[in-house]
Symmetry: C2
Subunit: 513 residues, 2 copies
Amino acid sequence: MNEVTARRARGGGGSARRAERTAVSLETARFITRNIPNFEILNEEALQIIEWNAETVLEEIGVNFLENPAALQRWRDAGADVRGERVHIPRGLARKLCATAPSSFTQHARNPARNVEIGGRSLVLAPVYGPPFVRDHEGGRRYATMEDFRNFVKLGYMSKWLHHSGGTVCEPTDVPVNKRHLDMLHAHMTLSDKPFMGSVTEPSRAEDSVEMAKLLFGAEFVDQNTVMTSLVNINSPLTFDATMMGALEVYAAANQAAIVSPFIVGGAMAPVTVAGTLTQVLAEVLAGVAYSQLIRPGAPVIFGAFVTSIDMNSGAPTFGTPEAAHITYGAGQLARRLGLPYRSGGSFCGSKLPDAQAAYETANSLNVALMSGVNFMLHACGWLEGGLVSSYEKFIMDADQLGTLHHLAQGVAVDANGQGMDAIREVGPGGHYLGCAHTQANFKSAFWRSDLFDYKPFETWEEEGARDTEVLAAARVKKLLADYQRPALDEAVAESLSAYVARKKEAAPDAFI
Amino acid sequence: MNEVTARRARGGGGSARRAERTAVSLETARFITRNIPNFEILNEEALQIIEWNAETVLEEIGVNFLENPAALQRWRDAGADVRGERVHIPRGLARKLCATAPSSFTQHARNPARNVEIGGRSLVLAPVYGPPFVRDHEGGRRYATMEDFRNFVKLGYMSKWLHHSGGTVCEPTDVPVNKRHLDMLHAHMTLSDKPFMGSVTEPSRAEDSVEMAKLLFGAEFVDQNTVMTSLVNINSPLTFDATMMGALEVYAAANQAAIVSPFIVGGAMAPVTVAGTLTQVLAEVLAGVAYSQLIRPGAPVIFGAFVTSIDMNSGAPTFGTPEAAHITYGAGQLARRLGLPYRSGGSFCGSKLPDAQAAYETANSLNVALMSGVNFMLHACGWLEGGLVSSYEKFIMDADQLGTLHHLAQGVAVDANGQGMDAIREVGPGGHYLGCAHTQANFKSAFWRSDLFDYKPFETWEEEGARDTEVLAAARVKKLLADYQRPALDEAVAESLSAYVARKKEAAPDAFI
């Protein structure tokens, strides 16, 4: 497969040479470049209505910037009408401010072969973010620990179709709240060489993220390049709190990327209708992105949209639903018209188990994300139970399915080889293609193939224990973690990172809330 | 939901009145009318290349019409170059002949509220077709019987999102091969009032299907209307056998619809590349549909494409793959350019169990079918293990998911209610939408909701037995079959159907091959 660059895990010195001889072959696909159209669900008239309404929301209703006098002053200086903590943004101002944000940017990885392009026709896949629980087939559901966190970073590093190491792949609840970001960053930086996300739970933790990135990449490099993409959620509806805005301010000032992302369960945090939700999403993103450009014009930023529907019987958020699809498609169109990279989609599901419900919901979500033109897909694998749980088995199952997106995005080749006329001539009516020259020349790359699913005849499958997908995935989790080898890292850099973490941990008492 | 027409099962006479009082409320959604665009994966140049190549295949390579001298004579008379059993069709002739086929037609059901429109922007959903085995949660996998067949017809009748009763929902292997079509038709005609398919396994069985339809609908009605849509597979590559063509001849002559459908596992029955497979599919459909119009110009016919990929390691067909998606999207474009209704898609999967693999593969396939403009989706629910098995639980799981297609196809409303500006004004920054007037007015119809999935909190779900989707579906199967009530049928009609079946069964010895 031409988008896969084969490599072997490497270490340094004698132990590395020994490792080399026994190394696990490790492939990582290049980020997806779409060679297929985006699906455009809204027509021009609908788009104009939503855009007009979003500006009305900003001007007439306004947005709250809470406990953040500096932000209010910045808005005043930019021409907004600030009353108390409410910022009324005149029609057109936010969109004008957004114009300085780049339509595409490179996020660098410490291994340059893992750099990703975010924007345009690209799609970058990152794992699940945020769950306080983990689940595995043997142990069931339990609070996540730092060991789980490291395991998920390792699994992400070894996943062929995953381009990004992500951020809070699970919440390491055994580490104090005020220190866990240090361990999490350290894990991403040392256990993987894929790009990663910074901390957003306090401005000071965003600063730690930037400092540690400087140790890893060099201070000058970080000043001049984007090496982190971090998740800045908006408190929908229309509220920007000081914590998240503080993190955004740190990252924007440091030229690091932020995903400005409404977090919406439709019917609760936004109107119960699709067009209404899209209006609010657009208003919120316009305000948030505009604010990032007030901090530093040109700072890289992503149009985010975490949106799903609600079960009106129980109040539970629901996933993989048609209404979530409508919103995801529509928000992609709005992002492209705004000239911004787009974040949405993910391995969303409400199921408690990695069962059929989980897979239907997830497959619906993943397909929509590809077709809606998403550029950065957080939660692309491992999400379970409405985001409460990072599932080991589902991580593997979803990560395998991400291969289908890579192949779908390639589109259809219609060159002479693609047309296959020689094959049709060679085989003729009633013949068989398996042995023909064209099939022999193409069979290795022609069809995507799962590395996980069972393709065996019924009898063989039954003899082997009649295993379902979860059981197959559990075996694969064990094998991957056993095979894992740490990517090489300069020893001085590794030591400086460890020293930074130790120093910062010692400097403050533990806090658990 | 405005596309759902509520009704109650009805019987005749006193027992019917008693039944009425205890009747299960039965809803069936109207067939889908798309209010969203189709996904167009091929550009104009690619389409023209494939169309040109398909004509080259027909003219230069030709197609075989086996053991069918009358067909060869018809082709000769139409201007084809017939050599032995090989028919070379001059460039443009097949397409010209196809022009008399209608772009859309009505298939009538005995309950007129169940009539379906096949073509244009419609999507009609029919259940799995053909498996010799069934599987259920308690009994596992076993050969299908006539009792299973009747059960699946009942489940199809009770499925809200299924518009069509289908055909061979499983192969009733306990009934002689030469008589089972009689029992199958009888089941569709009496246990359901949705439209159904006729038999194609012998021309005489197609004739029985027409005769029985005349008893059900009246002879005159059948002469003037389409009451059956039947599946005529092509022996890909490029071969039309006498059995299937014999059935096609019977149905076309009787103005009954046929799906002319290449049956292709890519790399085995067609080139290993997408464009090559599309070329062969188009050539085969052009020849088959043209032939139907030689039998009777104007006979209703559907552009079929059963296509999937192959696992080159094991030779097993694989489902829900990106290559199958490419072909399904492309064939839809070719069908629309030919002005024919399009059949493709289905609840395809290779898994042995209704587990996560099955659901990923199926969801991929269902989503692609919707987006590719399919008008008639056979196998829309219940398919398992590469089509070897009709699964009770998966039938229910898939049928539930078909609701997402209905809602997706509705598109996005941007009227004043859809825009929801009053709600955004009412709630404002930091508020909550659950209680607002707009939410109250819309919540019942705003979001699709599964009738099967678990949306409960973790603790409740655990207390209730931590059931996975298969277990939930098994319970629903039992409940539906227990609740089933036969739709009313005129007693004289019912007797004439039973008498026809009995007479035909007596007239011939049993045959089991």
